[in-house]
Amino acid sequence: MKHTVVALVEDKPGVLNRIASLFRRRGFNIDSLAVGTTHEEGISRMTIVIEGNENIADQLEKQLFKLIDVIKVENFTNQNAITRELALIKVKASTQNRREILDILEVFRAQAIDLSTASLVIQIVAHKDTIDALIDNLSRFGILEMVRTGRIAMRRGYTTTTDEVIEYFDDSSKFHSQIGRLSNGDFPFVSD
């Protein structure tokens, strides 16, 4: 069974490392991992999709929560939640079959966002299964390249995952998200 787990984490150097290392070490089977900022400065949000039974999901949640830099963990699997994923797909498309492809896109509510004489770039934002079905339909034209973001998720309705967390905001937790950075806010790892 697939579980969608959302984690709010400190936006700090090394956090992704800690989490990736935890998954590897405890043998969690990760389907996808999406990371991005939130509307709260200093907090990043991760959406993790993992394959496994209840017990494995339970352990994943607990082990994640045990990390000091993880502020909150929530399992979305049995929640009323919206889940989405974005994919960019570059397919072979000649002037002859272009129309046919555009018809397919209409069915899936996907868009063509770039065009050359021999190719099309398609964008789709949908649930994973929809994207998979679109890819099925496009494969006979020849897929040249594809990139997917992995699932992101949000509760439906007024309640949020972040609100209980925000009350903890104060100077010392701000400090916590600053350490490890240079005075100008950069990471110490210099790349030219």
Partner: protein
């Protein structure tokens, strides 16, 4: 003040007065300031791994945080074994390493190692401090994390130029980490449910783990078992949480635990597991530990619940807050039938864990004599890993918390020498006896020099069986006696003692044992006794790897 002074001021603020360390280029700015902070005693070890183990044992004996310091690169990598050792046994420790200057990080400069990356999976938490203004708050946070909740190692990596940077000493008034909240609330619903299970049980048993010792709750354990008339067995690291002469103490469980403890664990109808992480060496094959028992599992770390074994009633919390409420909720009863049943097994199987009736020099006899010739209240036993460790755990009547210092989770050979050093520093009045494997001793005995320098009167009992004994036992029993690379030539241990300027005593016969121990105790400085013991004894009882506790065997014939 400069970063180096902030580091030392921070340690003082946290009442840390001892650190074990080893210098090198990038930590020289820190060493440079030691003379100006005389309240802190720096103990110069001979290898960084030893600094870590010494800090670890210091923490186990004192209950305070242990601190180790190393330079960048090789200094940091040498620490790794000791960090993981502290991690697995939940020991509150602080590891400080220097690193190359900030502008050199990531450039593969001389003695750069990604210590932050290397340590990450072996610590409770770690930091790379990139700004001297962050030093004091980082130390405060690190020490808070290391010593609270489920204790563990925390690592702070400090670039050389941060030690030299000018900054304020801004020690925080409070620590507030939004990702680390210690829940002090007692979950009274779960505890009531736990009490209900216990009250309904006919054959309850308590598994007492390291958590009982870490949380200083052995008096509560005693109250709990006495009120409910519940037999107690401990894990290896739980040894000492219960006096061995207490009528409800039924030994320790696990791979080389008592036969009756393992059988009682397999036959109980209710298991009350306190502060333990359900380790395979303690429980045998999880699936067949006990098919019928309901399990109450109390631990500070919720991630331990249902990790290896599904708990009927998991309770999250510190034993010091959860046990009083559990004790209140359970009824005063007696379980005479069940206890009698265990007693019967105990007496029928007493032989499998006894001191061999032989004229030869057995390890069991040696370690038991060391226990007998010392006052119970003064003795601190430190061990290595292997047969001697198991026999020490079996035959030394450890009856007080923090009296047995042994590497449980990681099973680190070589722990015995530096850990004895840390133990003696933590408790200068204790009689510290280090029960050493002849194999393990050779991994870290360079620390004899530190021990001499620091004038620590540690007594080393080398259990010289000429073998990597535990490995030989496995090869004999499970690899058809195909002994490969376990028979070692030994150095002349008397000459080693002499080289370090300490007293050496050689013991080859049973009659010499007590005399040697008494003599060693009379000598003010460190003593090394080479016990040339019988070389081919095996440790019994034994739960073969992968077997269940109910399959405990008492001799090779049963395998």
């Amino acid at each position: 003040m400069i970063g180096a002074d902030i580091v030392l001021e921070s340690l003082k603020k946290a009442n840390i007065d001892t650190i074990f360390g080893y210098p090198g280029g990038v930590v020289l700015p820190l060493y440079d300031r030691f003379p100006f902070h005389k309240e802190i005693r720096h103990i110069l070890v001979r290898h960084e791994q030893a600094a870590g183990h010494a800090a670890d044992a210091y923490a186990r004996v004192s209950g305070k945080i242990g601190v180790a310091l190393a330079t960048s690169g090789p200094g940091a990598t040498n620490l790794v074994t000791s960090v993981q050792n502290a991690m697995m046994d939940s020991v509150p420790t602080l590891f400080i390493t220097g690193n190359v200057a900030r502008n050199l990080i990531g450039k593969d400069g001389f003695q750069e190692a990604d210590a932050t990356g290397i340590f990450m999976p072996t610590v409770k938490h770690n930091y790379l401090v990139t700004n001297a203004n962050d030093l004091a708050p980082t130390f405060a946070e690190a020490i808070y994390i290391a010593t609270t909740g489920r204790p563990g190692p925390v690592h702070i990596d400090i670039p050389k130029d941060v030690f030299l940077e000018d900054a304020e000493f801004n020690w925080p008034k409070t620590i507030n980490l939004r990702g680390y909240k210690i829940n002090d609330e007692v979950d009274s619903e779960q505890l009531a449910e736990a009490a209900e299970l216990i009250n309904a049980s006919e054959k309850p048993i308590i598994f007492a783990g390291h958590g009982v010792i870490i949380s200083n709750t052995s008096n509560l354990l005693k109250k709990l078992c006495e009120k409910g008339d519940i037999p107690v067995i401990t894990t290896l690291l739980g040894i000492g949480s219960m006096p061995t002469d207490h009528p409800l103490h039924y030994g320790w469980m696990g791979m080389h635990g008592s036969y009756h403890a393992n059988i009682a664990a397999s036959n109980a109808d209710t298991i009350i597991a306190l502060g333990m992480r359900m380790d395979d060496r303690a429980l045998g094959r999880f699936a067949d530990l006990n098919h019928n028992a309901k399990i109450v599992h109390i631990d500070v770390d919720p991630a331990e619940h249902d990790k290896n074994l599904k708990a009927t009633v998991p309770v999250v919390g510190n034993l010091s807050t959860t046990l009083p409420s559990l004790i209140n909720n359970i009824e005063e009863t007696n379980h005479a039938d069940w206890i009698q049943w265990i007693e019967k097994i105990k007496s029928e199987h007493a032989d499998s864990m006894s001191i061999p009736n032989t004229d030869k020099l057995s390890v069991q006899y040696v370690v038991n004599s060391i226990a007998k010739e010392n006052k119970k209240n003064e003795l601190v036993v430190v061990t290595g890993v292997g047969q001697h460790q198991m026999w020490a755990a079996q035959h030394m009547n450890i009856s007080k918390p923090r009296q047995l210092i042994t590497s449980g989770g990681l099973g680190t050979m070589g722990f015995e020498v530096p850990a004895a050093l840390g133990a003696q520093v933590a408790n200068p009045n204790a009689k510290v006896w280090s029960i050493c494997g002849d194999g393990g001793f050779q991994m870290t005995f360079q620390e004899l020099a530190t021990i001499v320098d620091e004038k620590l009167p540690i007594k080393f009992a080398i259990i010289n069986n000429g073998y990597l004994g535990m490995v030989r036992q496995w090869q004999e029993l499970f690899y058809k006696e195909n002994l490969v690379d376990v028979n070692m030539s030994q150095p002349n241990f008397m000459k080693i003692a002499e080289a370090y300027g300490i007293t050496g005593i050689e013991v080859t016969k049973k009659e010499q044992v007590s005399k040697a121990i008494i003599q060693a105790n009379k000598i003010e400085g460190p003593v090394l006794i080479d016990f040339k013991v019988e070389s081919e004894g095996n440790v019994w009882p034994m739960v073969p790897a992968g077997a269940s506790l109910s399959e405990t065997v008492e001799s090779a014939k049963e395998l």
